[in-house]
Symmetry: C2
Subunit: 143 residues, 2 copies
DNA sequence: CTTGCTGCAAACAGTTTGCAGAACT
DNA sequence: AGTTCTGCAAACTGTTTGCAGCAAG
């Protein structure tokens, strides 16, 4: 599955005439090895500790490529940083965000997705993507 | 209803020992007169044209007070600006955001709200607020 | 060899903050 | 009078961009 993703990116790169570079390989490896919702800086620091030469601009630029390639998706939580999560084929999940400990719980709900489709249809709206975030306190933090 | 909101803010201000100032009155007036989802800059420019002396820092500071007072809510859309919308008692709406023309269509759906409550309950999560945004093309823009 | 990619630093946009003076109470 | 609030400008944060050198094809 990690191999598939690499292949996906290589195909994308080929189709766009992009080059395959050491940095892009490294960043892809680290991104794939990462848990959900990395911020650019988190990823950058992780990479830099092993590959000091790398620049943050490259990480920014490369993550945007991953989005274009369909590997990653931008998530804007309320912490002032852009985060990226993995795109899994055919799957969409939403987030419970704990404002106490910053934990993020993912969930999926088909009924909600359907309702969204209905609402969009009612407005003649063509959905490209969506996000649902629920903020509050997780079981541990509601003391 | 606008009067109620002013009263709400005055109560909040009183309870917090905040002062009532010309600027806060002005900003509140303009905020209340505004349509949904003003960005700070939009509001600031509107106010400045009528009250040139006002500073943007004050607008930033005051909008945060409105949030604390329960009059306003931060909305983060994908345009790099923080926007504020009105809090209406007991009402919650979500957004269809057109990436073509930036139109924002609001909708409400009780069933979705219920499903969210269920999901939260299932995770022992205490909801404080939430947001659902659907991105895509509106009827006009889907050519 | 040609062109795209990288790293660096400078530029940017939106927001926050320190401070001296103004304005509430 | 005492303190909070304001306006300004400078500082900050996250992100983008210009450019000279590097590297992939």
């Amino acid at each position: 599955m990690i191999l598939e993703k690499k292949k996906t990116f290589n195909n994308f790169a080929a189709s766009k005439g992009l080059r395959s570079t050491r940095q892009r390989d490294i960043i892809l490896d680290y991104f794939l090895a990462t848990r959900q919702h990395v911020s650019v800086e988190e990823l950058y620091l992780k990479i830099k500790s092993a590959h000091p030469g790398i620049g943050s601009a490259t990480v920014y630029r490369t993550l945007k490529l991953f989005v274009e390639a369909g590997l990653a998706r931008e998530v804007l939580l309320h912490d002032g940083q852009t985060r990226y999560e993995h795109v899994m084929a055919g799957e969409h999940h939403d987030h419970l965000v704990c404002t106490g400990c910053n934990a993020i719980i993912e969930f999926e709900n088909e009924t909600i997705e359907h309702l969204q489709d209905e609402i969009a249809a009612r407005h003649g709206f063509l959905i490209r993507n969506h996000k649902l975030e629920i903020y509050g306190l997780c079981a541990n933090c509601r003391g």
